[in-house]
């Protein structure tokens, strides 16, 4: 393991090359084109079809108790009648632009989580005294600066579309009292948590706290670069702030997932949901990180970051793919097994109306990466990692889409041009932002006490 030879690591300065610029621009332009196509088709065939069936169903159904019937009459499935009163309710007269707000909300949530999870990765490396990852630590450090952008998008999307995205917000807006037609005791019971004030204030407060901790960690890292070699005080302080962030994040991230995503299916609940969301974004962030490492290495930087580091990132992608499947199965198996109507509703609607997406989701997030990354040689091959990684990133974005869209729209939606365009647009902005952030400081944490370990990293067996 690196006996005898010594690798000298020098500071490098990343320059936002035209190639990198072109890449993010292409993503954005493609995104705009697809999104534009999607918006042009908003009033198209698919949409009217959905609206028609839902309106038809609505006419036959009472508000409130009739939630279920709306969804059932569509396919006249007698078996599903058992899920009667708790079946998800969807306001049926959704304006066409709800789809735009829902898309923005998903992209905002997804990229907010990616940035936060990058911060979590960064913190965990400090807490766990990880040596190997020091060479690539500037990448999560750049990704985590993205926090404010998706957050603003998220807030805008929620301001514009909250009543159409969230059934409970619509319900809150109606202001029903006990005894009124359509009064929903369950939603009324949740109003202490699911209300508009909470929706905006709670995430905002947390994002401010997280953001400040992120700035603090970044400034410590910058100060370390300018300090004398061998001064570990910045490292030790970073460990303390990392621990603080990890604890705050650990206790709050589930609440964010419940408030923003789980509440789309307002009657439904699952205790694992927050953790599952975390892991979905965690594995995606690791993949994105691997992409950035591969890209800037190809540009000629970070010579001491070798295939060994890529191999370890590949191992992380593989391991957390399996872990994602474990959590996915934990939730699905338990709900499938107990067959309690109010829990089944979530999978019922996704399995009945979105069977293709449901299966595609599992294939893209588990089957393909599992088989694709199983072999050692696959994890050490940039092209394989690139292809499998792209599938994973899109798959996990689609996973979030699948958590939201069936809950908002009932049936009839598809992951179409608008969704793809929206994702690509955000991916372009994200890439541009991260590349810019990378230019802000040297690519190498030259005074980090574990840098030498990272430079001599070898996966061993």
């Amino acid at each position: 393991m690196g006996h005898g030879h010594h690798i000298e690591v020098k500071q490098e300065q990343f320059v936002f090359s035209p190639k990198a610029k072109r890449f993010s621009m292409i993503l954005m332009v493609l995104g705009l084109i697809f999104a534009g196509l999607g918006i042009a088709n908003l009033g198209g065939h698919e949409e009217t079809h959905t609206a028609k069936t839902e309106v038809a169903a609505h006419e036959g159904a009472q508000h409130g108790e009739g939630h279920a019937v709306a969804a059932h009459e569509e396919h006249g499935n007698v078996e599903t009648e058992a899920f009667g009163p708790r079946m998800e309710f969807h306001p049926l007269d959704k304006p066409a632009n709800t789809r735009i707000w829902a898309n923005l909300m998903i992209a905002g949530y997804f990229f907010l989580m990616i940035s936060l999870v990058a911060l979590m990765w960064y913190a965990i490396q400090y807490i766990a005294n990880a040596g190997w990852s020091v060479g690539i630590k500037r990448i999560p450090e750049a990704i985590m600066t993205f926090i404010p952008v998706p957050f603003v998008v998220l807030i805008v999307a929620l301001l514009m579309g909250k009543n159409d995205i969230y059934h409970w917000a619509h319900y809150e807006h109606l202001g029903l009292k006990p005894g009124d037609a359509g009064y929903d005791a369950i939603l009324a019971g949740k109003s202490g948590f699911l209300n508009s004030t909470m929706l905006f204030v709670f995430p905002s407060v947390l994002v401010v706290i997280w953001y400040l901790l992120m700035r603090k960690l970044r400034s410590l890292s910058a100060a370390e670069d300018n300090a004398t070699r061998g001064d570990v005080s910045f490292f030790r302080t970073s460990v303390k702030f990392s621990a603080a962030f990890a604890v705050i994040f650990g206790f709050t991230i589930s609440v964010i997932a419940w408030l923003l995503i789980m509440s789309v299916d307002a009657h439904w609940y699952s205790t694992i949901f927050g953790f599952y969301n975390f892991v979905t974004h965690w594995v995606t962030m690791i993949t994105i990180m691997a992409f950035f490492v591969a890209f800037i290495k190809k540009e000629g930087y970070l010579g001491f970051v070798t295939n060994e580091h890529m191999h370890d990132l590949g191992k992380f992608m593989f391991a957390f793919t399996v872990f994602w499947a474990y959590l996915w199965l934990s939730q699905y198996l338990l709900i499938w097994y107990a067959q309690i109507p109010e829990e089944m509703a979530y999978y019922q609607i996704r399995f009945e109306n979105y069977k293709f997406n449901f299966l595609l989701n599992f294939a893209m997030c588990f089957c393909i990466p599992f088989l694709g990354l199983l072999m050692r040689s696959a994890k050490r091959n940039r092209y394989v990692l690139g292809i499998i990684g792209s599938i994973m990133i899109l798959g996990h974005y689609h996973d979030v889409w699948l958590m939201v869209f069936p809950g908002v729209f009932g049936s009839g939606m598809q992951f179409g041009f608008l969704e793809l365009g929206n994702f690509l647009l955000f991916a372009g902005v994200f890439t541009y932002w991260v590349f810019t952030a990378l230019t802000k400081r040297g690519l190498v944490a030259v005074n980090h006490p574990y840098l030498d370990e990272s430079a001599h990293h070898d996966v061993g067996v």
């Binding site: 766990a128 005294n129 019971g189 490292f235 191992k315 474990y326």
Partner: protein, 449 residues
């Protein structure tokens, strides 16, 4: 390895050489047992006797001597089962997960932790097996043809998953442990003087010579076994959690159970490892191998997993309110303020609040304090299982079946008796096998120069 950062603690202190390692670690095996060992072993045998008596009484009289002939049909027995299975998780976690994460500090503690895993799983298996009542037809739990008496087993049943999970876990852990032991058994083989010793260690060392080719393959098989054992260790406690979570009992059916049980298992397992090693390093003079740095790392893991378990408690509690489901809401209010409030608050204090003292460096580096805390963790995790099982069962959907439950003398005897099994095995292990992985420790002596 030479490149390990200067700010890392030395993994082995005291400037040991390879032959020092052999001498120190093989000493208890090559010499006559110490007084402490004899006293401990005798005590363990007494507890083993308690187990034997309680078990005979149970088998002779029938399962009715346990107080579970009411709607609390799982009591101390399944509580103890989950408790021991949980403890049986740290060993494989340390040897597999920490191997994958290249945590070299595991090398001083993995051997004893794995041994502990195996003994804990044996203790755990006692409870479901004897809870079957008619243990002599226990083989009906296996997938045997109908002609053997039973029908085919039901693959939809989490209890059957348990049969597969625990037997797989036990045998794979044993295999992993044994493969890890082979080089060390060979070392003992070449040191031991007695003829019987030479024969026995010679038999089990399988002709190991330490060839470089073998070492290379040995390291690869360890890595692959670690890769297999990691999901395995998760699956075992996941499956134990599904014994509860697939049901429709309020307080049991919740989707967070699988990861939350796994975190709890790691938590309790590390608690037990700390209990054993804090004592062992002192009594056996292994302070240079199991250093304060090791204790520091273990207590950090205890703190993290304890906090994760605490987050799961709070999550369950919050979602019970959020669900709007009156049964769930009642189950959780009842846990906190019902007749078993003391069990719930013991659990919360021991598992969520107490481990937070490990934020302080003093607490992480003071052996006697860690010992006390590890006992607290074990108590807390026993209460966790008691809370989950008894508080959910003692309030049936039918109020006429509401009962109170407490373990009978036989049940208590069986529980105490499993400590007899556990420690008897552990003392025998400490006498006849190297408690620390000599070969691996030798490879990290030159960690920093």
């Amino acid at each position: 390895m030479i490149h390990d950062s200067i700010i890392r603690d030395r993994l082995v202190t005291g400037d040991k050489t390879a032959s020092d390692v052999t001498r120190d670690i093989a000493r208890p095996i090559l010499n006559n047992p110490m007084i402490a060992w004899k006293v401990g072993f005798t005590l363990s045998l007494i507890f083993l006797g308690i187990f034997g008596v309680s078990l005979l009484y149970t088998l002779w009289t029938g399962i009715g001597v346990w107080n579970i002939n009411k709607s609390v049909m799982w009591g101390w027995d399944i509580t103890n089962f989950v408790f021991w299975v949980g403890i049986g998780h740290a060993g494989t976690l340390i040897s597999a997960v920490l191997l994958l994460f290249r945590q070299k500090w595991r090398m001083s503690i993995n051997r004893s932790a794995e041994a502990m895993t195996i003994f804990a799983v044996i203790c755990a298996a006692m409870f479901p097996v004897f809870h079957m009542g008619r243990v002599w037809v226990g083989y009906w739990a296996l997938p045997l043809p109908n002609a053997f008496g039973s029908l085919w087993v039901n693959f939809n049943s989490p209890l059957l998953w348990d049969v597969f999970a625990i037997s797989t876990y036990f045998s794979v852990s044993l295999l992993f442990w044994y493969i890890g032991l082979i080089p060390d058994i060979a070392t003992i083989r070449d040191k031991v003087k007695s003829k019987l010793g030479k024969t026995m260690y010679g038999f089990f060392s399988m002709g190991w010579t330490g060839s470089t080719r073998t070492w290379a393959r040995y390291e690869l098989i360890s890595l692959i076994l670690a890769g297999l054992s990691t999901p395995l260790v998760l699956s075992v406690h996941t499956i134990v959690s599904t014994d509860f979570a697939t049901s429709v009992v309020p307080g049991w059916h919740t989707t967070i159970f699988p990861p939350y049980f796994v975190a709890g298992a790691i938590f309790s397992g590390f608690g037990m490892v700390a209990t054993l090693l804090v004592v062992a390093r002192k009594v056996m003079n292994y302070e240079n191998y199991i250093t304060i740095g090791h204790l520091d790392a273990m207590t950090k893991i205890i703190m993290v997993t304890g906090t994760i378990v605490g987050i799961a408690y709070l999550t369950e509690f919050f979602i019970a309110w959020y669900s709007g489901n009156v049964y769930e809401q009642y189950a959780f209010t009842n846990r906190m303020f019902g007749p078993y409030w003391w069990a719930y608050w013991s659990m919360m204090t021991c598992n969520l609040i107490a481990p937070q003292v490990f934020w302080f460096r003093w607490a992480r580096t003071t052996p006697w304090f860690i010992f006390i805390m590890s006992i607290v963790v074990n108590v807390g995790m026993w209460f966790e299982r008691f809370v989950i099982i008894v508080t959910s069962l003692h309030r049936d959907y039918l109020p006429s079946s509401w009962v109170m439950y407490s373990g009978s003398l036989t049940e208590i005897g069986l529980f105490l008796g499993t400590f007899g099994i556990f420690f008897t095995c552990f003392f025998l292990f400490a006498k006849f096998l190297p408690v620390i992985n000599m070969a691996e420790v030798k490879s990290i002596l030159r960690n920093r120069e």
